[in-house]
Symmetry: D2
Subunit: 346 residues, 4 copies
């Protein structure tokens, strides 16, 4: 795995944590009821109710794509539309999974800085041809927190989008692929950043922040739970040995591991960002609110880093721009090593 010795490509190149490994090992002792009727799955639900300060339901999924797509399918009819940012993961990076799960709903890409949906664009979109059978029906708004480009919506920004959504009679989904990082960045409560701002269904986003093979949907509008259960089974997402997914989430939720991991990832990004600012020729090109940094690097620097085994995406968004992502597993010396390497190459 040499190529990943210096890994800044994605937070999904990180492994997991000892707490989670231990929990999985403990979960294996003895038989257990299948399909979520085990005690660990129940415990995860209890912990999420506590975390979100209200009754919630939880469904485990194997990927964030499955979580997103199941949520969207429960919130729009096939003839509906999903209003999302044009840079969003659901729109660009899931191979049409939302279209598959929804039986062909249409994703309407909206503009906005920092991959945040522009409120005015949303105001127009929620009304666009509403009730006109010649057009898909605006049905659900999907926001990403943190966004695809590393921005974090403020509570006010979420509330504004939530109010536009609610006033228009649409539903609100949050793709929380980096939910923990956003909570850490805002210093708010999970409740404030989700249902209190109008979110109906949340893709919880545990994988990038520590779990291995388990993600989850948190259901605030619990009237949707039966439908989600059928949809999940039908999508091959109802695991028989669910305790092993539950154990991962259980450890993730214990003693705020989720928050500690996220804070660490954010701190490493801040350390990296601060270091980059001091290097001549390097330019930060987006607000790095959480653990994703976009910066402009001279081509010979990029080439030099790659030659040294650094892994990161570059020249993908625009020429000369690199994306650097930290995670709970990034060590301070990894960051410092990268900064030293860039300085030396500059």
């Amino acid at each position: 795995m040499t190529a990943y010795a210096h890994a800044f490509a994605s937070d999904n190149s990180a492994g997991t944590t000892p707490e989670i490994l231990d929990a999985v090992a403990r979960a294996s002792s003895g038989p257990a009821a299948a399909y979520g009727n085990d005690t660990i799955s129940a415990e995860v639900r209890r912990r999420l109710c506590e975390m979100f300060e209200r009754d919630v339901d939880v469904l485990f999924t194997s990927t964030g794509s499955a979580a997103n797509s199941l949520c969207l399918a429960a919130l729009t009819p096939p003839w509906g539309s999903v209003l999302c940012h044009r840079e969003s993961h659901v729109n660009n990076d899931e191979c049409g999974a939302p279209e598959f799960f929804t039986a062909g709903a249409k994703l309407i890409p909206l503009p906005g800085d920092d991959a945040k949906i522009d409120p005015d664009a949303l105001r127009a979109a929620v009304r666009h041809k509403k009730g006109d059978v010649h057009s898909v029906e605006p049905s659900v708004v999907s926001i990403s927190q943190a966004t695809e480009t590393g921005g974090v919506l403020s509570l006010d920004e979420i509330r504004v989008l939530g109010e536009i959504t609610e006033e228009a009679g649409l539903r609100l989904h949050m793709d929380g692929a980096r939910f923990a990082g956003a909570v850490a960045a805002l210093g708010c409560t999970p409740a404030e950043m989700s249902w209190r701002a109008g979110v109906d269904l949340l893709s919880f986003g545990a994988t990038k922040n520590g779990t291995m093979t388990a993600d989850a949907i948190v259901v605030f509008d619990r009237s949707l739970t039966p439908e989600l259960m059928f949809r999940a089974k039908r999508a091959g997402q109802l695991t028989s040995k669910m305790r092993f997914q539950a154990a991962q989430l259980d450890a993730y939720l214990t003693d705020e591991l989720w928050l500690r991991n996220a804070r660490h990832a954010n701190a490493m990004a801040a350390r990296l960002q601060n270091g980059l600012k001091a290097i001549p020729g390097v330019e930060l090109v987006a607000a790095a609110d959480a653990n994703i940094i976009f910066c402009r690097l001279p081509h010979h620097v990029t080439d030099g880093l790659l030659a040294q085994g650094y892994a990161f995406y570059h020249d993908r968004w625009e020429p000369g721009v690199a994306r650097l992502v930290t995670s709970f597993a990034t060590a301070p010396e990894d960051v410092d090593g990268l900064l030293t390497a860039i300085s030396a190459l500059s």
Copy 2:
């Protein structure tokens, strides 16, 4: 987990094995490329090529339902039909997952003893309204090995079904939910029981026999791999941290753990079966070729066992009939304890 202290409900109530837990823990060290571009995923593919004595491709899935449904979707157009046994898992126990993944293909339930498709019924079905646009088009045959009722098709039986399928120009899928158990029962090679008998795509079925959150599709017709890759991503089955699924399979395939587990489960079923035969009032009602036993128990025996905390399905297929399933995790003393309990109650 008291209710599962004496677990004979399903092989999915078992946990996992130390080898698999160790492999998962080892896989967590350091960063790794995501989405299957890691070294462990490559190693699993190498091991499966070795096991099946030919080039194969492999896709990891989170459930057997996902494996089955992806395979069927790659083997039938939406206007096609899936010929399967009326007792099969794909037909009865997946909430229409095959219909979802295939975009609405139709499952045609066929008769046959021991949940094995009757060859004559298949001969008629593969020709039924072939080419008639008013009817769904016979497209793929799906066989389960072992069957839903615990029977194991002989190599000859598979070959006959495979030949009917091939002669009619249809494709062959094997639901190998208990593939290892069937190999152990037949004493044949995995190749003989799959592609040598005509199987195009195999649901590998590791979960019931030891893994935690990982199953797999083994692709014999490798021209289907690109399509399967797109379908898997689109179905939310492409995990980012795939190394953690791969690690489970890697350990499962190392030193024939899969075969040792299966042999143990079968041996426990044989031990149980032999013991049951000796108990007056208990009647075996199906051939228990692998690790599933169907037997007729007096009602007071069933009630007594349940009162003692035994877990098993009963009165679901027909009144008075119980299903007892062993697994790699069943200990001889578990079996003996059950036999003693039944004897005492009889």
Copy 3:
């Protein structure tokens, strides 16, 4: 069109009537609003409200298959099941159209004499695994009136099925491909045979009884209308020049043309049936309540009729059995000619 000179193959081999042709010609004069916003479409709705003695909505479709599939899609979620007779048109003769429109719901074939669903089988089916996420959810019952084999359910028979459906919380669809013929046979009102017996959505079935390119859905549960409108547009069923479909239905509903046509078809079938009874060697094998007759013919008779240019289906249901269908366009002399031919050949 020699092969159809003596047409008893299907009521869909008939053309149309002068009243309908005239209405279509009249409808062409001058411009009209598209997509159903024309005056003729409104008039058809008014006529159907009158005919059914209540407020109904109407959607035009180009085929009965489209009508059936749209109705079913509005009455079941994708994870639901459609309980229907195993001989029904939706199950056997629509190439999976219901599966397509419902996004993969499952059709559950039920037994029953004369292609009528057996009430006891329905009682079991409506409860089967209800609420169990491993199985499709019983959601809608679809009955055919008249049935695929020419039987007509009595009002009591419909009511019994309707009550089972309603008590179980399911919805009721009627495939009225031969609705008019059944009304004529029972001598009841359209209301009695539909919504008063519990029908939520009706495939009206005009094509076989006189129209050319227009069929319709009659909506009794009008809360389903918006969804049906979106589904119809999305399925390519919302015609721009809808007045030309409406004109056909308008004429069909004027001066009870629908009932006159149906009575004539039934009378021709009765005439044929009576004649057949008198011919030695010919055996009637099903109750011919409307315009479809199943009879056993000696093979040389079948061969002789075909040689004379008679068109009808034979040896399709069982060897030696022929199906003879009359229509509004069948003349008494056509029937008498056929009887003479059979007699001469016998």
Copy 4:
């Protein structure tokens, strides 16, 4: 139908022609084989082979939406993308019908003047993330001729798009909603404007130019015909009394009625356009190559026309812009009347 006395809203507000009504009436005499096995359907195919100077297959549809969606479904897998203009009918005006028929393929909206796809944008789009399972796969290009805003692509423009499509290994669909009008405008042959330029499947677009309830798909890549046949049946588009659709097309193709109708519609648009140019305060805002005119009208003129019973769309694309559409049924005096009305109001 007062509101449509002065109809410039759409070419679909026109009725049909005497030739077509006569053909339909003639088609009704006597029985005929159903589902396209009649002689008139065969004759239409023969005529289309002649018109297109090669072997083609034909499928009748009830709407252009159905034709478009069936074509696209045959040309892209569910995980594929449809590259189309952002103003195209398939993208905006069919309520997601393409998404429904394709089982969830994604429409990628491309820019370009006059609703013509910009070749450079297409060059980028056909390569975009090709082969990357995280993204939908570029699969089919759909062009509209004439375009949604009334422009007509030149043969060179079509060829350029066709070559980009072919070189990238994608397929080409033409939405010919106004195919006849475009042929008339270019003065070319139907072959030149379709398969000779690379078109695989054509939505023939007869409804707007004269037929009532019949449209058609013309199949140039005949290997797609069996799939299209199954898809059409499954979509409820296979009519039993197909002769009545065929008769409309038969008359439409006889003695170049299609071309005469289209030339007339174009001539009326030219007459209108010339008249508008001479009226101060009226500004033409797009090239009116066929029968659609976009012009800027003062608001009091728009209001005045509406008050006089004129029907047309306005203020829908941008404030102050009106769309005026002529058809085969538009009379010179209708045009002159409108011009006089506008002059008087200006």
